[in-house]
């Protein structure tokens, strides 16, 4: 068959990612990390990596294992590595967090945890990038969405390698001047490559394919979409170039980063214009909840990037523009992630359960696996809490921030519960729920081997 089959371990990636999202938000509600500690405090570093690797990283890798074959209409290469990669990433993250715990003097932890965790993460993300890149390379020439993913994978590799150098320096394993300079000056580039390069460019690419699919909008690549790719590529090249510059001259200026931010702003404006056009040109007039929730994430993307470029707004956003980074991570990346999970989980569950009996018995629609009215309340609470938490960071009110976070955590747990209900087919009317011959899906373990 030309194209994609079901990815066996994607649901396990999603389950682990959701767990880390709950843990990360729970840690913040408990008062750990920024703004209760400095931006560069070990507690903050641990929290940031739980969210960036545990939640967003696992979510994105799991989604790409399923959707890169869809983007290029070709089978995934090296699919057997999916489980080892998941184990490497989870164990690497736990060691990394333990290593940050060592830095914060939290109990008797081995100093080797930080470099060992970095090694496992480099191996895990390296294998994931290799699987996905091999799939893309074999399917050239690539459609535009897949080219975004290719760019995102390059940014992933750069992010992980820089992070590994940081881990070696912080643990005292390496003490070279270059590595120390990179640690002192390279943290903004590391964050920009991870959040802007890897996670955002990849999400943008996948959305250029999924939005037309779900809304029945025209799929052909527009000039503005190509400009988004070129602006993203140029911004990525500037950030990587600055890191190279740091190796040669440790007084490297901030100019390239500022210009990269400007390019990111232009790319964001063009991308937002594209998603508005897709919405207007859709043939499917009924707009499902996953689409409505995705557009709320686009608003967060627009606001966070545009305000980040305005010097006054960034200065008011706290240390390192923390309030805007928060809006970017939870409004844009997490909001979009939850919105797409709300579609992908029922869709994959439907295929798993009803795909093999289609044509023989009556089956429900994918939409019958969810209850939108209740879920829309969770999404409203989620985005409202993100807005309130962002406002509290601007106002430097730790108390209000924590209160908003608690609501955000409640909404997240509510949405995850809806995903669990979809997996258990709880919303499907009884005559259609378990037709004869239909396999019952496991909560997060893989589907049967013959469907791989």
């Amino acid at each position: 068959m030309p194209g994609a089959t079901l990815s066996r371990w994607t649901m396990s990636y999603f389950a682990a990612a959701c767990l880390f999202l709950v843990i990360g938000q729970g840690i913040m509600v408990a008062g750990y990390g920024y703004p209760f500690a400095d931006v560069d405090a070990p507690e903050t570093l641990a929290l940031v990596h739980v969210l960036a690797i545990g939640w967003l990283g696992l979510l994105m890798v799991g989604a790409l294992l399923q959707f890169v074959p869809v983007l290029v209409a070709a089978p995934l290469r090296g699919g057997r590595l999916a489980l080892p990669v998941l184990l490497l990433l989870v164990s690497g993250l736990l060691l990394l967090v333990g290593g940050f715990g060592t830095m914060a003097d939290l109990g008797e932890l081995s100093p080797a945890m930080l470099p060992l965790g970095a090694l496992l993460l480099v191996t895990g993300f390296g294998l994931a990038a290799a699987m996905l890149a091999a799939t893309l390379v074999a399917a050239r020439p690539l459609p535009l969405p897949a080219r975004f993913v290719g760019l995102g994978l390059l940014a992933l590799v750069a992010t992980v390698l820089i992070g590994a150098v940081f881990a070696l320096v912080l643990s005292g394993t390496v003490a070279s001047d270059f590595a120390t300079t990179l640690l002192i000056h390279g943290v903004p580039s590391h964050a920009a490559l991870g959040l802007g390069g890897w996670l955002t460019l990849t999400a943008v690419g996948v959305s250029y394919r999924l939005l037309p699919m779900f809304m029945l909008a025209p799929e052909e690549a527009r000039g503005t979409s190509r400009l988004v790719w070129w602006a993203g590529s140029a911004a990525l090249a500037l950030v990587v170039g600055r890191i190279t510059w740091l190796v040669l001259d440790d007084s490297a200026a901030q100019g390239p980063l500022a210009f990269a931010a400007l390019l990111a702003g232009i790319a964001t404006l063009l991308y937002c214009a594209d998603v508005i056009r897709l919405f207007r040109e859709r043939r499917r007039k009924a707009v499902e909840l996953n689409i409505r929730a995705s557009y709320a994430a686009f608003v967060a993307l627009f606001l966070s990037v545009v305000l980040f470029i305005v010097p006054g707004a960034r200065a008011a956003a706290g240390e390192g523009g923390a309030a805007l980074v928060y809006l970017f991570v939870f409004g844009w990346l997490t909001g979009l992630g939850l919105a797409q999970l709300y579609k992908i989980v029922p869709f994959l569950t439907w295929l798993e359960c009803y795909g093999s009996v289609l044509g023989r018995v009556a089956v429900p629609r994918v939409q019958d696996l969810v209850r939108e009215r209740r879920s829309s309340l969770w999404f409203c609470l989620y985005y409202g809490a993100v807005a309130a938490a962002t406002g509290a960071l601007f106002a430097e009110s730790a108390l209000w921030f924590r209160a908003a976070l608690l609501l955000q955590l409640i909404a997240t747990v509510g949405l995850i519960a809806e995903l669990v209900r979809a997996r258990m087919l709880s919303s499907v009317a009884e005559p259609l729920r378990f037709p004869i011959g239909a396999p019952r899906p496991h909560l997060f373990l893989p589907i049967a081997r013959q469907q791989e």
């Binding site: 068959m1 994609a4 070709a74 699919m213 029945l216 499917r284 023989r360 089956v363 994918v366």
Partner: protein, 97 residues
Amino acid sequence: MTEATNETVCGAIRDALRMIIDPELGRNIVDLGLIYDVSVDDGGIAHVTMTTTTRGCPASEYLKEAVRNCVWYVPGVEYAEVRLTYEPAWTPEMMAN
């Protein structure tokens, strides 16, 4: 089989295929315009040419298999051959109103 009989079987096949829905859109694949061609030769061998809304969709193989199973049970069909194509690519304009 006479030409008239073949036409009758083709019609029966199209009717039978209406029980198969596209899981995402929730409409049957005939009204969605996903069935490009149906023919039956004198030996009762049915040929169905179909597509899916998206190239590379994970549901493609399930839909193709569902069509094969469904056509096989239509009276007058001895064997069913299903071909998946993306030439031309499906567009929303192909849906029946």
